[in-house]
């Protein structure tokens, strides 16, 4: 089924917002999510296609509401749970 990330040509999204001289990361946690993902990909815990797939499987409402690195964080925790690296209790997932 077509997924929420597949937005090319979709109507209704608002004007594009530019932030002048924006930093690479807006918070430390974003930089850490970036680095964690690199580390886990490098170790082969999951591959890049699995990572994208996990982002795409977010419920549409959550996908659209989430900031970019929040999407990454959700995908990482989804994959770590699905692969049994961490338990749901450890991840505080319902």
């Amino acid at each position: 089924m077509s997924r929420i990330n597949d937005v090319g040509g979709l109507q209704g999204f608002a004007a594009i917002e530019q932030e002048q001289d924006e930093p690479a990361f807006h918070s430390d946690w974003e930089a850490h999510v970036f680095a964690i993902n690199r580390a886990l990909l490098g170790r082969g815990v999951y591959n890049l296609d699995e990572f994208r797939d996990a982002i795409e499987r977010m419920p549409p409402r959550e996908y659209l509401a989430a900031s970019y690195y929040e999407k990454w964080f959700r995908a990482i925790t989804t994959l770590l749970g699905e692969k049994g690296v961490l338990t749901k209790e450890e991840l505080h997932l319902d």
Binding site: G9, F13, E19, S27, A35, I36, L80
Partner: protein, 198 residues
């Protein structure tokens, strides 16, 4: 949760810290090298790299030809590369001209030549940009303040596979007397993505 300063962002920061400590316990993460590796990666990669490539291409036709034919092979001439990531990705450089203008997007996610240019701007990753630029690039460019003459054909490149794209803007007029460094200073990140003339 009391206090608007906390809330979702503080919660996310706490969740990320929590995840990091779990992964460290599992031996999947080394916190010390994490910060160091990240800083090293980001220092190497910036739009300045793209600007240097463009300035050299404007001054040296041979380099320009080599760049357009095989950008990965040409980058080392400037001491640059698409390496440093987990896998070296193919870079494709597409040249603007009087008749053609190029603009880059990744409609499906956010693919971008990070290894060369550093992280992409937030707007590039937004649903608004990704949805609209393939459908009406002229209107999107106009929103960025760039009104293209109607006779110029726009090519939108959707980076849907393993290639990463960068635009080679046309050299602005009146720049004949500028040296390579001054030419590089004219080039903006928006120009390398294709939402600005340079």
């Amino acid at each position: 949760m009391s206090g608007d300063h906390s809330g979702p962002q503080a919660s996310l920061a706490a969740q990320v810290r929590h995840l990091e400590s779990l992964l460290e316990q599992r031996g999947l993460l080394d916190a010390e090298s994490l910060d160091r590796d990240l800083a090293a990666y980001l220092t190497r990669a910036s739009p300045d790299n793209g600007a240097r490539v463009v300035a050299r291409a404007w001054l040296d036709n041979g380099f320009r030809d080599r760049l357009l034919a095989d950008a990965n092979a040409a980058l080392p001439e400037l001491g640059l590369s698409m390496g440093g990531g987990l896998q070296e990705q193919r870079l494709k450089v597409v040249a603007n001209s009087g008749q053609e203008h190029n603009v880059i997007v990744c409609t499906l996610c956010s693919c971008y030549p990070i290894a060369l240019l550093g992280p992409s701007p937030t707007w590039y990753k937004s649903e608004a940009y990704r949805s609209r630029v393939v459908r009406d690039p002229r209107a999107v460019l106009s929103e960025f303040g760039y009104d293209l003459p109607s006779e110029v054909t726009i090519h939108v490149w959707d980076a849907s596979a393993e290639s990463r794209y960068m635009v080679l803007p046309a050299r602005p007029g009146g720049t004949d007397d500028l040296d390579e460094q001054s030419l590089a200073a004219l080039v903006t990140r928006n120009g390398l993505i294709g939402v600005a003339p340079v």
